[in-house]
């Protein structure tokens, strides 16, 4: 039992990553929009698990708050708002989907060549293993939020402020776009 738990802890990233892939596939393949949103929610939660297993605890929790708490609820509201059931019987995929799948497979093949070099070529040494001593810069677990905020508010203050302007513009734009014509 302990051995099982230990191996689970060691393979936490792989487990969450594969579950995220499964959720993403379910999202793309499911017929109804609500099921797609549920697959999206599952994938986002698993990606949050991946973040936590990569020593980004603050970002993992932020991911759960922003995606599961905000964006998925927003999607569900819009799914509820627009009547989707009348499209249920129609084909969910585009007419050109065969061409699209060929294009995606070509991209996958190109990347697979790159990955094959990374895994079996000269560069496949243990230099690419994430080493624990490097995580000290991220101040694992206790002070991860401190490390992130130092990066955000000291080194990258300008992008942060620009993001706040973008959020304001998006807020105003969403209100203008979604308001009814009769005012």
């Amino acid at each position: 039992m302990e051995h099982l738990l230990e191996s689970l802890g060691r393979n936490m990233f792989a487990i969450f990553g594969l579950l995220a892939l499964a959720g993403a596939l379910f999202m793309v393949a499911s017929k109804r929009a609500v099921h797609s949103v549920l697959g999206f929610l599952f994938a986002m939660l698993c990606v949050a698990g991946c973040y936590i297993s990569l020593d980004a605890q603050f970002l993992g929790v932020a991911q759960i708050l922003v995606y599961a708490g905000g964006i998925v609820v927003l999607f569900l509201f819009v799914v509820m708002l627009v009547e989707l059931t009348k499209y249920k019987e129609r084909d969910i995929f585009q007419n050109q989907s065969r061409l699209a799948i060929v294009a995606v497979l070509a991209g996958v093949g190109a990347f697979a060549a790159v990955f094959r070099r990374a895994f079996f070529g000269a560069a496949s040494s243990d230099a690419l293993v994430l080493r624990p001593e490097l995580a000290k810069g991220l101040d694992v677990a206790r002070q991860n939020a401190q490390a992130v905020s130092r990066g955000l508010f000291a080194d990258y203050l300008l992008p942060f402020e620009i993001l706040s302007v973008i959020l304001l513009v998006a807020l105003v734009g969403a209100v203008v776009l979604a308001k009814t014509e009769r005012v």
């Binding site: 999206f40 990606v47 991946c50 973040y51 980004a56 007419n95 994430l130 990066g151």
Partner: protein, 100 residues
Amino acid sequence: MVSLNSVLLISFGLFSIGVAGVLIRRNALVILMCVELMLNAANLNFIAFARHSGSPAGQAFALLVMGFAAAEVAVGLALVVALYRRRDTVQVDDINLLKG
């Protein structure tokens, strides 16, 4: 021990599923979700490289990307709602206003 290659593989899988979804689905809502998925794949790479290099810059930028994704979803969903009001559809191949 997580190897950087496995993180890159998972993130590549998420990204390609997102690209495939954007290309083959008809529903505008699902397309928006797939775009979010691609942003998350990029975020996963940011965090993996931050973990690899030991500097918090990657995590800070992942947080910025998350805020950007929230803004994008707000505007995108407002567009979908406006489109549904005007054209009574959210299927992208019914939207052919610019078609000659």
